[in-house]
């Protein structure tokens, strides 16, 4: 079983919601759509579901063109950010509703509802109505209903966004396991890079209706195809500095020069943008940190175990993530250090030309 989008576009009036997206999703896979609000995640899901026809392009299921087939004629399960349940029905009836529609026999309904309720830990709640449940339990009910349907395509549109932080952590861990067993194609939309990383699977990063990259989640994180993908897929945001490579020497903004080694080696002369993650920008010189730069502290955020030090350097705003508590006064000068082997290098068009070598870095 596979779902293929072929050059799918969605244009409404003068606005382009989806621009030439091609994706192939395999059964049993978890696919994260990662992008900010209005980047096209929901529209793309609606096209996959058949809730909306694409303006151009085709949607194929196992090679069969289903582009014009409406959602009712497909077998799709969808869970939304809002907790959507039938308010007057019990949890049992809510979960059973897709089975009743398909006319399954009584004992099978019973068995499958019990099974789904067990997986989502809803057994004690089966007799209650959704209004008597907490937000987490309401969303579990909606998820159970999606699960029980045994649809080959399950679409989850920011399903945890309205839940408490800790509940999100729990469900995020459970969800992939629960749906993995069903063998469905699971599509999960989120705005949060950390959520994509915790879910694993594959990730498609979206920016203004375009899929900028699609691949195994951790690989997209380690080797973002371009600067936009790197920005979409980083939390805390990636730091950037412009540089010029000339004759084996890299000259960074802020008057720092260094020999073009590591990811910078063997690059043609010209302007580049260097990106580095906040956890690689150090407040104290570590082994391999051959780049030293002076900046100014603009604000420090302390999480209890770590500090996010916002550093202003030559017009750029950087974040350094340091272990431990660092109380630094805003406005104070600060030296920050960086290992050139941890640099992402983007060319003048924003395309990735070199990424940190994992083997060398580890």
């Amino acid at each position: 079983m596979s779902l293929t989008l072929e050059n799918v576009s969605k244009i409404a009036g003068r606005a382009t919601h989806i621009a030439d997206v091609s994706l192939r999703l395999e059964s049993g896979s978890l696919n994260v759509l990662l992008g900010p609000t209005l980047s096209g995640k929901t529209t793309l899901m609606r096209i996959m579901a058949g809730l909306e026809p694409p303006s151009r392009g085709r949607v194929l299921f196992d090679g069969i063109d289903v582009t014009g087939v409406p959602v009712r004629a497909r077998n799709v399960a969808m869970v939304y950010q809002q907790f959507i349940n039938y308010p007057t029905l019990t949890v049992y009836e809510n979960i059973a509703s897709p089975l009743r529609v398909s006319g399954a026999p009584k004992d099978e309904i019973d068995r499958r509802v019990e099974e789904a309720a067990h997986l989502l830990r809803l057994e004690p709640m089966l007799g209650r109505t959704p209004l008597e449940l907490s937000g987490g339990q309401q969303q579990r009910t909606a998820l159970a209903r999606a699960l029980v349907k045994r649809a080959p395509l399950v679409l989850l549109d920011e399903p945890l966004a309205n839940l408490d932080y800790k509940l999100r952590e729990e469900l995020r861990e459970e969800l992939p396991k629960i749906f993995a067993a069903s063998g469905a194609i699971l599509v999960y939309a989120t705005t949060e890079p950390s959520e994509a990383l915790l879910l694993g699977g594959n990730t498609a990063t979206l920016d203004r209706g375009r899929v900028t990259q699609f691949g195994p989640t951790i690989e997209v994180y380690r080797r973002p195809a371009d600067r936009i993908t790197a920005e979409v897929f980083s939390d805390p945001p990636m730091n950037f500095v412009s540089a010029e490579i000339r004759g084996g020497v890299a000259r960074l903004a802020g008057d720092v020069s260094l020999p073009a080694s590591g990811p910078l080696a063997d690059l043609p002369d010209g302007p580049v943008t260097l990106g580095f993650r906040p956890n690689h920008l150090h407040l104290a010189r570590a082994e391999g940190d051959t780049i030293a730069m002076r900046g100014m502290v603009s604000v420090v955020e302390i999480t209890g175990s770590e500090s996010f030090v916002h550093v202003r350097q030559d017009g750029a705003e950087w974040i350094a993530l340091a272990h431990g508590v660092h109380e630094l006064a805003p406005g104070a000068p600060i030296d920050v250090y960086l290992d050139p082997r941890k640099l992402f290098v983007f060319d003048a068009d924003g395309r990735l030309v070199a990424a940190p070598d994992r083997a060398a870095a580890a």
Binding site: D164, Y165, T191, L197, I218, D235, P237, G304
Partner: protein, 360 residues
Amino acid sequence: MAAITLDHLAHSYKAHPEAPSDYALRRLDITWRDGGAYALLGPSGCGKTTLLNIISGLVTPSEGKVLFDGRDVTNIPTEQRNIAQVFQFPVVYDTVSVYDNLAFPLRNRGIRQAEVDRRVREIAGMLDLNADLDRRASHLTADAKQKISLGRGLVRADTAAILFDEPLTVIDPQLKWELRAQLKQLHAQVGRTMIYVTHDQTEAMTFADTVVVMYDGAVVQVGTPAELFTKPAHTFVGYFIGSPGMNVLPAKIEGRTAYVGGSRINLSRGYPRLAEGQKIEIGIRPEDIRLAPGGDGLPITINRVDDIGRIRIARAQLAEHALNIVVPEEARIPGDGVHAQPIPERVHVYADGHLVEGEA
């Protein structure tokens, strides 16, 4: 500007509360200093919103008093309390300009036009809204709208406190970083008392100097972010703060050793005062465990390793207990015969959920 005192405060939505469970908010006594940054942190239903509504005057507490700078405001309505509030979803006056939105609270109080103009431009400058002053508020993005709601609180010179009710809920992660930093800078600049309600530990910890952790209608710990992280007063705090949360394992304590199942864990202190019949547990943060290829430590099996970029989380098993271990990006994870070594100074002992101080 004001210091806020909550004096014997409690609230029940029932007419005649009896059991502690009848209270949405159990008794608490807290003083918040003038100009401080505070956070109320807890899961939904923990009473943090009730507490916020009591401070803003939307709910009158059934017991106790609320004092602003020593003045009893318990029965004073919201509009006379000089507080400002930023809500979960942006509340702006859609049909008028950003300028008129910011000027609104001042005009309502009959401030002179010249003064209104000066204040509005000053606050718009702080919030980076200068370029948008003439635009209609409905045309703006969610983060700009939240800034406007905040700005309406900041323009008034007499604001006693600014309350935030999960203000970043509808903001994208990348913008959250900017807004959070801006808010922190603003607090330093204007020095108003700010109270921030959230279920998100990162938001609470990064914003506040003092975090009040609430659970089931009660305050379970008040402390700095570092205190909450390194010394959780309750297993709930350990679980709720940190991600993944603290590992909590049932244990038996003898001298300076904790026994979990058949495994021994060294402690840095002794606990001679533990009473019989108490539920004894130890808490270890996933960050405070090292992995070693063998020898000392706890024999564990690693079920799965989640690579989440800058760290990896080893999902391990110690006998029948699950154990999360945070492994730094570049550290190696040993293969067979892997042992977990908790840092003895960072292992906490809990009796019936509450932290027990050890003795040297």
